[in-house]
């Protein structure tokens, strides 16, 4: 029971921690004008106090619940997908669009159990080229580029 209750309040606790951190940093003197009446920190501090208070309220509310809030999850796949997406976000502007798109598309499909490798690579390549062509030529939106090819 205790384990379940502890799991239930994780959200509230994390929110409380973040809110408290932000609140304390808003009082630090690196923000000059923090003491001003209608100053830069005026509104954020109202919000952050609310944030902290609400987090406490949520912890209390969730503590009193009798059932687990979070359902069973398939953690392995989830973490893989998160890692893939995260890597794509970071690498998109470092490595460029074409490699990241291809690798991500294929990787995501593979993780989600699309195991027909030749078809997977084919579709990944086709998708990558299609998007690249449409964005570059038809739409003229700049795609993230590889730094050393750009002059």
């Amino acid at each position: 029971m205790l384990a379940m209750r502890l799991k239930n309040i994780i959200f509230g606790v994390v929110m409380l921690a973040i809110g408290a951190f932000l609140l304390s940093s808003s009082y630090s003197t690196s923000y000059s004008g923090a003491e001003m009446e209608n100053g830069p920190m005026f509104f954020p501090q109202i919000l952050l106090w609310l944030w902290v208070a609400l987090s406490v309220g949520i912890i209390i509310e969730d503590l009193r619940k009798n059932a687990p809030i979070v359902q069973r999850q398939q953690v392995g796949t989830l973490l893989l997908v998160m890692a893939l997406v995260g890597a794509a976000c970071v690498l998109l502007s470092i490595v460029g669009f074409i490699p990241v798109c291809f690798v991500f598309f294929a990787g995501y499909g593979y993780v989600l159990k699309f195991r027909n490798l030749p078809i997977l690579f084919l579709i990944s390549a086709a998708f990558t080229v299609l998007i690249w062509a449409v964005f570059n030529y038809a739409l003229q939106i700049s795609l993230p580029e590889v730094p050393f090819f750009v002059d």
Partner: protein, 319 residues
């Protein structure tokens, strides 16, 4: 032996290739013009207009990239850190170049730029609602001196040209005490004036034409050709610094001399092109050209002017 020969040939080929690149005339591929504001604003419209004419003059595509955020500084920073080879240019108003550096720490400074040419410039008109009860500057001064802090001046953001314009006007008219209510864009100031919560602003000629406001004077050396009946501040005896909202083309500092010459020449031609002037007028923007040298001098002078004004109007620069 074969390997060595291959390497030698390879190195020669590379050198020749690199050399030919250096010899290739600029420009030989697309130019990116970074506009540090969202699509649809005046900065964007004037920038795209200039880009179109540049394309015709230079013979390569000039692709516009909108990089908005932080009142123009994100886009400006991107130009500042790009390579000064003439393929990345920036199009800005005073804000990111001469204003905001005095308000917070930025990844670029006074020497980050090679100004290429100023294309548009809007002078400020001291404006208020059309049905406001004052018809002369003396009336305004008397009223504001009698009721300090009662009235409100509007701006489109602290430290911007519009803010510093109205601030220096109030100061020049005799240190008149007004409250300052900033808005997010000029359109909002006009709305506030129409709604009665703001009373004074520094408006541009186009706004004077389109909206229900009247102007008592213009801050310029001469009267505006579109409004010949409006006197200048100087004529009325007031010494107010000439703060304008301008748009110009910038490159990162360190541009090669030949590229600078080509660009400068192109901008000169464009600014005198009657089609360009006509397009600008249709957009209600005034074409006013300064070439690279003039613009560089102007830029430096504005940089120092804004430093002083911002310190007074907004407060000292924060870290």
């Amino acid at each position: 032996m074969k390997m060595l020969r291959f390497i030698t040939v390879f190195i020669c080929a590379c050198t020749l290739f690199a050399g030919s690149q250096a010899l290739a005339a600029w420009p030989d591929k697309n130019i990116t013009l970074i506009i540090p504001y969202a699509a649809g604003g005046t900065a964007d419209a004037t920038g795209r207009l200039t880009a179109r004419f540049l394309e015709q003059k230079l013979g390569v595509k000039v692709v516009v990239k909108n990089v908005g955020g932080a009142t123009g500084t994100i886009g400006a920073a991107e130009v500042a850190r790009s390579r000064p080879n003439g393929y990345t240019l920036g199009w800005y108003p005073p804000g990111p170049a001469v204003g905001i550096p005095h308000m917070r720490k930025l990844p670029y400074g006074k020497d980050a730029w090679q100004p290429l040419g100023m294309m548009f410039e809007e002078v400020s008109f001291f404006s208020m609602a059309k049905d406001a009860p004052w018809n002369s500057v003396d009336d305004v001064i008397a009223e504001l001196k009698a009721k300090p802090g009662e009235y409100v001046m509007g701006s489109s953001g602290p430290g911007g040209a519009v803010h510093l314009s109205i601030y220096s006007i109030m100061k020049g008219l005799g240190d008149l005490q007004v409250r300052h209510v900033p808005e997010r864009a000029n359109a909002e100031i006009l709305k506030a004036i129409a709604g009665g919560t703001t009373h004074f602003m520094a408006a541009q000629g186009s706004e004077l034409q389109r909206f229900d406001i009247k102007a008592l004077f213009v801050v310029d050396d001469k009267r505006s050709p579109s409004f010949p009946d409006i006197p200048t501040a100087k004529e009325l005896g007031y010494d107010i610094p000439r703060i304008t909202n301008w748009y110009g083309l910038f490159a990162p500092a360190g541009l090669p001399a030949d590229v600078l010459k080509t660009l400068s020449g192109a901008l000169n031609d464009i600014a005198h092109d009657p089609d360009f002037i006509k397009a600008g007028t249709q957009m209600a923007c005034t074409v006013n050209f300064r070439n690279a040298e003039e613009f560089t001098a102007f830029y430096l002078e504005q940089y120092d002017l804004y430093k002083v004004l911002i310190e007074e109007a907004v407060g000292s620069p924060k870290e």
